[in-house]
Amino acid sequence: MNISDILILLAVACAVAAAVLSIRRRKKAGKGTCGCGCENCAERGLCRK
């Protein structure tokens, strides 16, 4: 495994961590991850009703 492999894997891991954190943060804030409005994000008017 060379340094570029490690860097790419780190980048992918960061992307996944960011995605998981984003989902968790939005869920905690009562927002959805569904894109078109789960019950929570719909309730807050983040999506089309």
Binding site: V16, A19, C34, G35, C38, C47, R48
Partner: protein, 776 residues
Amino acid sequence: MKLSELKPGRSAVIEEVGGEGALRQHFLDMGVIPGTEVTVIKLAPMGDPMELRIHGYELTLRLSEAEKIGITPVDPKTAEAEKTPPRSQEHPGLGEEGRFHPKGSGDPLPDGTTLTFALVGNQNSGKTTLFNQLTGSNQHVGNFPGVTVDRKDGVIRGHSDTLVTDLPGIYSMSPYSAEELVSRDFVLKGHPKAIINIVDATNIERNLYLTMQLLEMNIPMVVALNMMDELRGNGGTVDVNVMEAMLGVPVVPISAAKNEGVDELIRHAIHVARYQEKPLQQDFCGVEDHGGAVHRALHAVSHLIEDHAKRAELPVRFSASKLIVGDPLLQEQLELDQNESEMLEHLVLQMEKERGMDRAASIADMRFAFIRKVCDASVIRPRESKERIRSEKLDRILTGRWTAIPFFILIMGAVFYLTFFLIGPFLQDLLQVGIDALSEAVQRGMEAVHVNESIQHLVLDGIFEGVGTVVSFLPIIMILFFFLSLLEDSGYIARVAFVMDKLLRRIGLSGRSIVPMLIGFGCTVPAVMSTRTLPSARDRRMTILLTPFMSCTAKMPIYGFFVSAFFPQYGWLIILGLYLLGILTGILVALLFRKTLFKGEAVPFVMELPNYRFPTVRNVFQLLWEKAKDFLRRAFTVILIATIAVWFLKSFDFRLNLVTDSHDSILAALAGLLAPLLSPVGLGDWRIVTSLICGFMAKESVVSVMNTLFGGGLLSIGSLTAACMLAFSLLYTPCVAAVAAIRREMGGKWALGVILWQCAVAWIAALIIRLIGMLF
């Protein structure tokens, strides 16, 4: 004579309103009361329902409901007779410092108290537009009664100690649909510090009916006269001073869409809330009106229940009028003893005898009588608004007897053609070129620095193939939402409900159910939520169970993926066929439900038809921006994680060794457990099973997972399996977001039922296709 017998273009005076219960109360609340003039505008293309004009607005009723309304035909009133010059008077100065208490004096609420406001008004009166102006938020607004189906909160710009709640539109405080209950409960139990009552100035008589009831709540209130620019533009106006004096609350003319008068409204609203300035006027019953029968009954009942109302923390006047009409919720809350209940009944019977009308009609008539007085004194009505004339011209075609359905098919056909075959694919190809170029650049870069082959596969076959394929569908989804937004904002969707009512009744639904169904072509989640505008639980449930059969945009990537691989020469035919298959299955399921789970008839079709309006560029693009943001967020969160997880599971075995053949992977073992269930319909390949399972998280991931698992070997499954896969993907369980929405509306058992039921329907449909395919 019955209203159902009145010919289009003819007018009549209502003599009696039949029916019973909530529907009759709804008729009365919408202004269908004895003594009111009504004009039949037209019948829907299939002869039912009918469109009426009453109190200056358009209402739709089925013939079976119109049969319950007794009338006497008359010549239509001339506009001249209605026109009364307003009296001018000194500005009462309500809700302002200086008139009732000098600046700095008075008895304000303690500093730090959050001033809570309820934004209340009729459906389609511009509440959400005003809410956006007040709070600076970007809520979606539409030109269809019932866009807001749940409450939303926001802080007024520049006033951090405020909280304004946008409530679903209601016609009265007698709840008729679920959304109306939300509003009533918030005003009654949420104890807002003040109410901002938004009144559509172009439809003032009907809007003031709700105002009368809000005033009875004895909560500080401001009336925002919205769309004043439109009223003035058509030669009408309102003498605000006179109206303010008669209503006893501040009245502020505004145009929410143009942000005119909103600052003044905020000043008044904050003032009445901070100083708790309650309405000066609550006693609308005239002492002289019809011998004062209603007046005496209302006052007698008010005294009778005063102690109970105080104990229950309910406004006395509001409780008295609701008790007289027999509101069961109020009766329960007030806990009257037997003597009091009997006394109440005697008082009401006496009122009915003296007034010559039943209790509900007497109270509604009393309110409309006061409204007429207010309007006669303060409103110059426009002769006929430009918007109305424009709407009538358009309606001659769009709801015309012979033209409505062809135009509906033409419009929807054009929307789908432009979305899926003209603009959408062009933009999709452009985006795909960009994604491919980026992918190639990344590949060259990784090869240049000798990145491990497995990691290259993860990045290129996993992330770029999976996420990239899904992202490339962004233009198509945006364009479909763009057109749906135009149709809704223009007011056309409401006409579709009017035109389609008779057709939908054949499958046990009301015309209003067409709206969630059409939204369902965009996304099932908002479609399920929009069923709240349907007034009966039966119709709501049945519509919710049918909307997932309408093919949502998230399934487009699946269709595009399979069609381009297997049926490139029949692309549009296959996609059109899938949409029709979804609709056909929905119809069959509806007919089945009608005979089993949901016996009975659809609820009455009593709906307001709004004028056509030009959709605002801001509104449409704001919606598209929100959709694009949400779609991309989903692609780079849920779908990214799912794609990487699938790549991991298909690349490693249970000992976490890299596998050379994905048949030995963890994923193959797990999906293999479910494969026997899908084998009879030709979908027993573990890779297909895996993609279908991932599709439950988000439909688009079916494509990304298949891309990851099959690589370039997709064609090996054969065109018959592809056809079965298309049908199964169309009909099987809705995604987790839609199931969550269904669970919220109907409960966990129903949500689970939907998952199992739709999988069964999809399985049967795929089996039929497989059997037919095997014949050839």
